[in-house]
Symmetry: none
Subunit: 118 residues, 4 copies
DNA sequence: GTGGTCTAGACCACC
DNA sequence: GTGGTCTAGACCACA
């Protein structure tokens, strides 16, 4: 995993998204133990507080839970993971369709562009 | 036009995007005169500096040019407008497709979601 | 306002609750401007980051919103405030009734205790 | 009995409360022998030290006493049990009434809410 | 001047 | 060793 961050958005946000993606795509499996905050921080070359913040958000979302002294785990709740995957996709689709609509593209135009994409 | 701004991104960016859209979608026509910075500022309830900044960016892109004496105009260059429209669409498609790909959606999945959109 | 904190719970939580209460009880009125993070911090004798954290939570809840450069305001949404008041009361009642039920008190017992309270 | 713990408070506290409740509600009867620390620990899937700590507290309160040779027993002192039950109820009522008062609910409001509770 | 973010370093309770 | 909290101090973009 390449821990590279752009400077246009907060690091903790980018961290959040990357980890979210790793969970959704299955790189981190349900029940897996996550590296400790300190490990993570040194691996990503970032301050532990920054990791903490991303983790707190992941907990709030429900993808991750912490066990005080035994570290952090990925949720076992497969449904939750699917649900968040769907939600992220939905948001992405909505934003995209609105953008394209405002630019004046019809559904057919859009599908054509997508089929030409790579 | 609703001049509403969210606080998660700079106002001048949102302003820029809205005006860009009004040009591309034809609400502002090529050659039209734009309101003065002051007028604009009072209409959008925004600091004139903020308008100024958005305008500077629009000029840099080439959608707008200023005429020392007669204020700011929309470009006459129809090709330029089309080109920017295409570019915005392309960026939007690229970002969208990358997002969906990372989430694990295939081209067919995506097209299905788009057809179900509204 | 007495900014005193107990050490059994995080300061930012106590801060959050106190401010929440001040909004709900009407000490801060809808639309009011809140003190800046720095002012608040020096008034409560707490680190600005701690205030920031409490404020971020209040924003997430929707009681407060920030205007980037012009400071933070209490929401104008009276309904939202009422709703949160009701929700807090409901949580409080639920927890209380469960506690008392587990201790073996009936509804009548409970009402009697309440009527004897002070 | 469900041995489930939240991670927002120390486990030994939650353990303490649950056992206290089992004594007060009569699931453990006065004079009953408690499981050994080891048994308890394996049943609740918790570190024996944690059980130990909860037990120490129960002894301090006087709900439990240990008999060097024959393990730990529930107290025979029925008055003690009643007294603690009353004290817990009183604390619960006080906290609840203060909460509701701060939220702006009158005694009548509160009684109404309680009567509507399930 | 405002909020937002980040770092560095420290201390704590818990197990 | 683990997560959680707090402080102090710094820098940035924005208006």
């Amino acid at each position: 995993m390449a821990w590279e961050f752009k400077s246009d958005r907060p690091i903790y946000t980018q961290l959040l998204e990357k980890i979210q993606l790793m969970i959704i795509s299955g790189k981190y499996k349900p029940g897996d133990k996550l590296p400790s905050v300190r490990e993570f921080a040194s691996e990503a070359a970032v301050n532990p507080n920054t990791i903490q913040r991303a983790m707190a958000e992941l907990e709030r979302i429900g993808l991750v839970y912490s066990n005080r002294t035994s570290g952090r785990m990925i949720t076992d709740d497969l449904e939750k993971i699917k649900e968040i995957k769907k939600e992220l996709a939905k948001e992405s689709v909505n934003e995209f369709m609105q953008n394209m609509g405002r630019l004046g593209y019809s559904e057919d135009d859009i599908i054509e562009l997508i089929q030409k994409y790579k």
